[in-house]
Amino acid sequence: MGFWVTTVIFLLAGVVASLFTLLCCNRGPSTNLFHLTLVTTAVICCWMMYAIVYLAQMKPLINPIRSGE
């Protein structure tokens, strides 16, 4: 699973979550926008975290060295 596939999964999860809040807690446009903001922020935060860790391991400069006995 490459970087872009997972990113698309995050995107889909974000869309699904947004639709979910839109359908389940539809309480007028301003509340919906609020919910949308929350979902978007959460997805972006999570994705950033994932992306950072993934990218950092993509082209490693140091290798894991087993602690020898």
Binding site: C46, M49, Y54, A56, Q57, N63, P64, I65
Partner: protein
């Protein structure tokens, strides 16, 4: 919704802006004033202004009623005290709406108080008599014993004397004494006194008596086995029963005085045996009689208190409510004709209909002939800040409010805090095992929230309960970041596929020297489990987490700057967009945005460039060749441009804004001279009893002050960009500390105990591990990560846009008053 400050730049969003407020004036006819205020208190959406601020509490219109309310509160406190003394608990608040009038309640409370005081006084008197009788009873018993034994010894002596007389041979018998006892004419009538004296004073009592009467008394004391209730003080004391024999009236007077001084209670003791018997009978009869009376009195009092207890909460509530109403009424100004009251206050715009409805109902229900008048006033005062929160958003909003209440309608950081606060917490607390523990604890609070909300909790528990949704979000995010860090109580799992690394050759000889090589695609999600426990784990994690902190920090700071754009747009302040928002954005991103970009490029290309070196020499010698530190072609040019942009944006922030502000002010001032007509309108309003400060309007413009302010702001931003970015490194430090601590507990406690091969050590190890995990990792680490996340929001995020100098909307509401009590 947005009406006050302008706005309309973007669609409205819940919680982003505080509710639009308006200053309203209500003119209420005096006869319906009380009911109107009461209905408005039920509604709880209007914050009354004190229009009598210059008057002392005693000069106000309803001072007398307030005094009555306080008196009632005192009576209620008295009743409560009596109930707690009698160990009768009040029934929990069940507000059945049997409407009780204030005056009726006052009378009723007065009656109850008088009745209770009387019952108590009677009871006390009876109790005292009862205790006296009990003492008398003991004295009768003890003294009876003395007399009996004394009589027997006297009779024995008599017999001795008779025997002596008949024999007259005894040499030992003292001559003088015999003579004395022989002479009946000289016999003195002996008086006797009996009573009880406190045990600790008994010795002194005896000594004083002996000295005062020069030994011419006979005193017998005997301790009483049980404690005796003292009639005067009502306390249980150890006492001695005493009998004194004396001769002569002068001695008696002295003894009486001494008895009084020693708090010795005296009781008459008949010397005659038949009389004694009679007294004993009488006393015991009266004791049982009194006992019955006292019991009946107590039962009567209890029944009164029980009947009070069932209604107490309701009365208490009513009294508090009335007091609050009169306090509010005191804040209204009375019209000259005294026929109506004028109220002014803040209310949310959306509440206008509800308020008018309440006014209407009050007019009808109080059968007033004139209705109340409701009108909106124009004002330049800054309205209070009111966010409509629910139980989920409330705690997050409180986190923001703890720093400062938002200025009226300014962008609320609370919106993003709901996600970013738990997220940053989780970056420092990434362990999905610990996350699950936290989640379970907070789920317990959430599931039982109805029950817990009605209970009284301890201080710490109360705080946790208030923040249960914050902790819930924190737990969810820490489970996520725990999966990213691949740590479950510091143990990694291969949840998302196989590790990307393997040995170079089948023998795996150089795995401990040269290290493993990457054989597959990167581990798909999170940190590769192979790093855990490896020798290069720390260098790898340090580099990763440090860079992550910078990236997250730059992102959050950019969000903060973006919020300042929304604010400027909302308040239609294009100056702030062009001379604050844009240069700030450029400055931050040309330095730290560029650093973030370099980090990402370095990761993507696997370049070995030294980023410290690049950043430092970007300032020191921007024209030098980069050499091996070059990450992409044309980097030198880009850096030069960015550096220039950063340098330009500093004076851009500093100079134009004060100059333009001065220009604007001069323009406005010129225009003002031709627009005097507006003022007449306001003077009409002023006659109606409004006292608005118009001083804001004609504010003096001090260029130097504005410039200094802007200078400070610019310096703060420029220095802050560096120090704030550095401050985000706490994410790295805390998360490292957390993972290292949990590794230590796992390796050095649990695995060590496991290696002992003994059940006993294993159990000890597990117990220590559990307590260390809960105490250190789940409680202390949570607290410290919470505080650091709090700081990152308050300082690093909010100082980019948040002014936080507003004041909170504090409506007159009965529900709020009741909550405050609890």
């Amino acid at each position: 919704m947005a009406r006050g400050g302008g706005g309309g730049c973007c669609p409205s969003m819940d919680l982003m802006r505080s509710e639009a407020m308006q200053l309203v004036q209500v003119i209420i006819p005096a006869e319906s004033a009380h009911l109107t205020v009461s209905y408005l208190g039920d509604l709880g959406l209007i914050q009354f202004k004190d229009l009598n601020a210059e008057k002392s509490p005693f000069q106000r219109t309803y001072a007398a009623q307030i005094k009555r309310c306080s008196e009632m509160a005192r009576k209620l406190r008295f009743l409560k005290e009596q109930m707690s003394k009698a160990e009768i608990s009040t029934s929990p608040t069940q507000l059945n709406e049997t409407h009780l009038e204030f005056d009726d309640l006052e009378i009723k409370l007065g009656e109850l108080e008088a009745e209770l005081t009387e019952v108590n006084a009677n009871n006390e008197k009876l109790q005292r008599t009862y205790n006296e009788l009990l003492e008398y009873n003991t004295v009768l018993q003890k003294a009876g014993e003395f007399f009996y034994s004394a009589q027997r010894s006297a009779a024995a002596q008599q017999r001795d004397i008779e025997a002596n007389q008949s024999g007259q041979t005894s040499l030992e018998s003292p001559l003088l004494e015999q003579e004395m006892s022989m002479d009946p004419s000289k016999q003195v009538k002996l008086g006797s006194l009996s009573g009880l004296v406190p045990k600790e004073k008994a010795m002194a009592f005896e000594r004083i008596l002996f000295r005062a009467t020069r030994g011419n008394i006979f005193l017998r004391q005997e301790p009483i086995d049980e404690l005796v209730t003292d009639p005067v003080s009502g306390e249980k004391v150890a006492k001695n029963a005493f009998v004194i024999f004396y001769s002569g009236e002068r001695a008696k007077a002295k003894i009486l005085k001494i008895c009084d001084a020693f708090n010795a209670n005296r009781y008459p003791f008949p010397e005659d045996v038949t009389k004694q018997l009679h007294a004993v009978q009488e006393v015991s009869g009266r004791i049982s009689e009194l006992k019955a009376t006292i019991d009946m009195g107590l039962a009567h009092r209890d029944s009164i208190l029980k009947s009070i207890a069932s209604d107490f909460e309701q009365w208490n509530h009513l009294a508090k409510r009335e007091k609050a109403i009169y306090h509010t009424l005191n804040m209204l100004s009375v019209d000259v004709t005294k026929k109506c009251l004028v109220a002014e206050g803040w209310s949310p715009v959306f509440a206008s209909v509800q308020i008018q409805d309440a006014l209407q109902r009050a007019t009808v229900n109080s059968k007033s002939q004139v209705g109340s008048i409701f009108q909106v006033l124009n004002t330049k005062e800054s309205p209070p800040t009111y966010f409509q929160t629910n139980k989920f958003t409330l705690a997050f909003q409180e986190i923001v409010d703890a720093y400062g209440v938002a200025k009226y309608q300014e962008a609320n950081p609370g919106v993003f805090t709901i996600v970013t606060f738990p997220f940053l917490f989780a970056v420092m607390f990434g362990d999905w095992g610990h996350g699950i523990c936290l989640l379970l604890a907070t789920l317990y609070l959430i599931i039982r929230e109805k029950k817990l909300a009605s209970q009284k909790l301890g201080d710490i528990m109360e705080m946790m309960f208030g923040g249960r949704y914050v902790i819930f979000m924190m737990a969810l995010f820490s489970i996520y970041t725990g999966l990213i860090y691949n740590e479950f109580f510091s143990v990694p799992f291969e949840l998302f596929g196989k590790s990307a690394y393997a040995c170079r050759d089948p023998s795996c000889r150089d795995a401990t020297t040269e290290g493993l090589v990457k054989v597959r695609g990167t581990y798909p999600f999170g940190v590769d489990p192979v790093w855990h426990g490896s020798r290069s784990e720390l260098p790898f994690l340090n580099s990763l987490k440090m860079k992550m902190s910078i990236l997250l920090g730059v992102a959050q700071m950019n969000l903060g700057i973006l919020m300042s754009y929304f604010n400027a747009k909302f308040f239609r302040n294009s100056l702030n967009v062009w001379y604050q928002f844009i240069p700030q954005l450029i400055f931050l991103n040309s330095l730290f945005g560029y650093l973030s970009l370099l980090i990402i490029i370095k990761w993507c290309t696997g370049s070995k460039a030294d980023l410290y070196h690049v950043m430092i020499y970007m300032f020191l010698s921007p024209t030098d060749e980069l050499g091996e530190n070059q990450l992409f072609s044309g980097q030198k040019t880009v850096q030069l441009v960015l550096l220039l942009l950063a340098l330009v944006s500093v004076p851009w922030m500093l100079i134009p804004k004060p100059i333009l502000l001065k220009k604007q002010h001069e323009q406005r001032h010129q225009g003002h001279q031709y627009a005097m007509l507006q003022d007449t309108d306001e003077s009409v309003g002023a006659e109606l009893g409004e006292h608005h400060d118009e001083s804001h309007d004609h504010e003096e413009f001090e260029f130097s002050e504005v410039f200094v302010h802007q200078l400070i702001h610019t310096i703060e931003f420029v220095l802050g960009a560096v120090s704030n970015t550095a401050s985000y490194l706490r994410l790295w430090a805390l998360s490292l500390a957390h993972s290292e601590l949990s590794t230590v507990f796992y390796d050095k406690v649990l695995l060590l105990a496991w290696g002992m091969n003994s059940v006993f050590f294993l159990i000890i190890g597990i117990i220590v591990f559990v307590f260390a995990t809960i105490g250190v990792l789940l409680v202390m680490e949570t607290l410290s990560a919470f505080l650091h996340a709090l700081r990152l929001h308050w300082v690093e995020f909010q100082n980019k846009f948040y002014e936080g100098d507003g004041y909170k909307f504090a409506p007159f509401s009965f529900t709020l008053i009741r909550e405050e009590e609890d």
